[in-house]
């Protein structure tokens, strides 16, 4: 008996993969339905779902880039300390001292690319009219995901802790301070500079170590968790709203 067959008939293999090699249609369906990774895809795909000229594969590429950001980001977290004493030096060390210093660049390029592909995905959905009923709510989730992508970029921008990131976030958080109602300098403001949204975001009245820690936690934990939840909802709704949209 060839080795491959012996592996396939072993109890270990059978305990992991419950079905024999999919040679007939019922087993093909079962193999897809009983596998966590495979079941994310529908059992049967419409042919137009593979038409690259229609889909651009931009949603898939955006999701792939999110996974790249998660993997490289977790690796960077092993060296980066979000303190005034260490943040800038750890960032430089990640480039110059640590093995495979290109990982930080991959994380950064991936972030830029993800903003671009998310917007191109949005453009494709708009141009093909795929936002129309019954997919209106999924468009809304998609807009929230775009906002989260931009917020992830914004919070990640502070972490190198150089002049560029420091003043960029100063400008960005001052814009929050000028927001209506919740910003102390905004129209119809009813808060002070120690109780407005900017104060909550920075943990202080100016960008300092409190802001660095808050942006770090938002960037590494809070926003990715929220994005992962919304993505699950986004993908699930594609299936529930009638599958991938096709040419009319």
């Amino acid at each position: 008996m060839p080795l491959w067959d012996r592996i396939r008939r072993s109890q270990v293999w059978k305990s992991i993969f419950r079905h024999p090699p999919p040679v007939d249609r019922p087993n093909r369906v079962k193999v897809v339905l009983t596998n966590l990774i495979l079941h994310l895809h529908p059992v049967a795909m419409p042919k137009h779902g593979l038409r690259l000229r229609f889909t651009w594969c931009m949603g898939g590429i955006t999701f792939f880039l999110f996974l790249v950001e998660v993997v490289t980001g977790v690796l960077l977290m092993f060296y980066y300390r979000p303190t005034i004493q260490w943040a800038y030096h750890d960032m430089l060390a990640l480039r110059d001292v640590v093995s495979y210093g290109i990982l930080r660049e991959v994380h950064r390029w991936g972030a830029h690319a993800m903003v671009i592909t998310a917007m191109l995905h949005m453009l494709r959905v708009f141009l093909t009219g795929s936002y129309k009923p019954p997919r209106e709510f999924n468009w809304v989730i998609g807009v929230l995901l775009l906002a989260l992508t931009l917020l992830l970029s914004f919070t990640g921008y502070l972490l190198p802790w150089d002049q560029l990131s420091m003043w960029a976030v100063t400008v960005g958080s001052n814009m929050v301070g000028a927001a209506p109602l919740v910003g102390h300098e905004g129209p119809a403001s009813w808060v002070t500079d120690q109780s407005d949204l900017r104060y909550v975001l920075l943990g202080a009245r100016s960008v300092g170590e409190e802001a660095l820690l808050r942006f770090y936690v938002l960037h590494c934990v809070a926003l990715p968790l929220l994005a992962a939840f919304l993505m699950a909802l986004h993908f699930w709704r594609i299936r529930k709203d009638g599958g991938i949209s096709g040419p009319l």
């Binding site: 092993f78 060296y79 060390a93 640590v98 093995s99 990982l103």
Partner: protein
């Protein structure tokens, strides 16, 4: 009668050849995928090994022997290096040596009590004489010594990468003390 020669009617149909090529291409694709995954995993594992340490060096200079009069216990290297530098009698001879500050019971950091002239462990009450030998509490062994020597510039150099244990008779090793 006309007969089609064998080499024209091949057993290998066009479909069989094409599907074999397709299978090979798929196999090649998965092999490349596996290669990339393997390289990525190896690179990630290497990434996890730090190239630079920010912890204190194992070897440090501790001034000239004149700084340590007989009976002196130096506490300034406790915080950074975890070392007592002691000028004390051991087996009737004055010696200058470097003791570990970690209690030999469970590794708590001992305190120097000048009034009682003993190292005292705050965790379970072990006590050590100034020469490092345990005399009370649960500590099973004396505090280990680190390598110590007079460097060429006349300064004391302590090397924490080598330890000397009294219970193994290693305190007789001249690398474990400077004769006082």
């Amino acid at each position: 009668m006309f007969r089609i020669p064998d080499y024209v009617v091949s057993q290998r149909t066009r479909r069989a050849v094409l599907s074999r090529i397709a299978r090979w291409m798929a196999g090649l694709g998965f092999a490349m995928l596996g290669l990339v995954a393997g390289l990525w995993s190896a690179a990630s594992a290497r990434f996890m090994v730090p190239n630079v340490a920010t912890e204190p060096t194992r070897r440090f200079k501790a001034g000239t022997p004149g700084r340590y009069p007989p009976g002196h216990v130096e506490q300034r290297y406790k915080e950074e290096h975890g070392v007592w530098i002691v000028h004390e009698k051991y087996r009737g001879r004055w010696q200058l040596f470097a003791l570990s500050t970690a209690c030999t019971h469970l590794g708590c950091i001992t305190l120097w009590q000048e009034s009682d002239r003993r190292f005292k462990c705050p965790c379970h009450g072990s006590g050590f004489y100034p020469n490092g030998v345990n005399f009370e509490g649960p500590a099973p062994r004396p505090l280990p010594r680190y390598a110590i020597r007079l460097a060429d510039d006349g300064h004391i150099e302590v090397d924490r990468s080598r330890t000397f244990h009294q219970e193994r008779g290693q305190w007789d090793d001249p690398a474990s003390y400077i004769p006082g």
